[in-house]
Amino acid sequence: MSRDEGDRPRERSTLLTLTWIALVGLTLGSYGLYESEAGSGLLLAISLVKMVLIAGIFMELRGCRPLFLRAAALLGALTLGIIVSTL
């Protein structure tokens, strides 16, 4: 499937806008959790969700070759996992 097939501009722009709102909300929410001294693991879980949204929606990696996606996602998750394990 080419990038152009199935593109619906209005839907794509709505998706981008909703993703932006979600990302801003998650960012402000993580700061709120920090203020309320919530667990570090939860903060990093929010970071993981944000990474997935940016990579999948903004970078349009959703639906790209799975080997590349798997490698990048594995590396990112591994990094966050190691960070969590050291907390």
């Binding site: 932006w20 903060l43 190691i82 960070i83």
Partner: protein
């Protein structure tokens, strides 16, 4: 027996070779993050004492700035794909402006810390703080320059849109956004 069909995948946006560079950058930064986390776990008290000198609000503001700038870059990519070069140029220019805002705020933050005597040699935490954010800061300079250049080129030659370059530029910008998504909680919130 039914014929199995190969699943079709979307092509990567932008230039394929550029993705090798992005991947290498991402791998390098992940290694830095892991080293920081391990060092932190070895001397948590000292790290937390140094971290207390940081104000998370500039980091939070910069996180929102980068996310919004990433949104503008993504809208620019969509515009060029639809053949609307002028709209693409405006979106990329807006993204670049927010990149400048990030740099201004980060520069102010560095000045504030240095003015209060927190330097690279103050503590291991501050060594990592300056090293990690400085690495990112230099890349934001580069990314902002790319965005501004692509905004100018698409405005100057709207009849010859270079979709691949715009998408590559936007991908680089989104990678910087992802890096800050990890850096902000790692340095300011944990």
């Amino acid at each position: 027996m039914p014929e199995t069909t190969r699943r079709e995948f979307r092509p990567l946006p932008g230039d394929a070779a550029w993705w090798l560079f992005l991947t290498a950058e991402f791998v390098t930064l992940c290694l830095f993050f892991v080293v920081f986390a391990v060092m932190r776990s070895g001397d948590l008290e000292a790290f937390e004492a140094s971290q207390a000198a940081l104000d998370p609000r500039p980091g939070l503001t910069n996180a929102v700035i980068l996310i919004t700038s990433g949104y503008f870059a993504a809208r620019g990519s969509l515009a060029i794909r639809l053949g609307n070069s002028r709209s693409c140029s405006r979106w990329l220019a807006a993204a670049a402006l927010l990149g400048v805002a990030f740099l201004v705020l980060k520069t102010w933050e560095y000045g504030d810390k240095l003015g209060r005597g927190y330097t690279l040699s103050t503590s291991t935490f501050f060594f990592f703080y300056y090293f990690l954010t400085g690495f990112h800061y230099l890349h934001v300079w580069l990314g902002t320059g790319f965005l501004a250049l692509m905004a100018w080129r698409t405005a100057r030659q709207p009849e010859r849109p270079n979709r691949s370059n715009v998408e590559s530029c936007a991908s680089f910008w989104h990678m910087l956004d992802i890096v800050w998504v990890i850096l902000f909680p790692l340095l300011y919130l944990l």
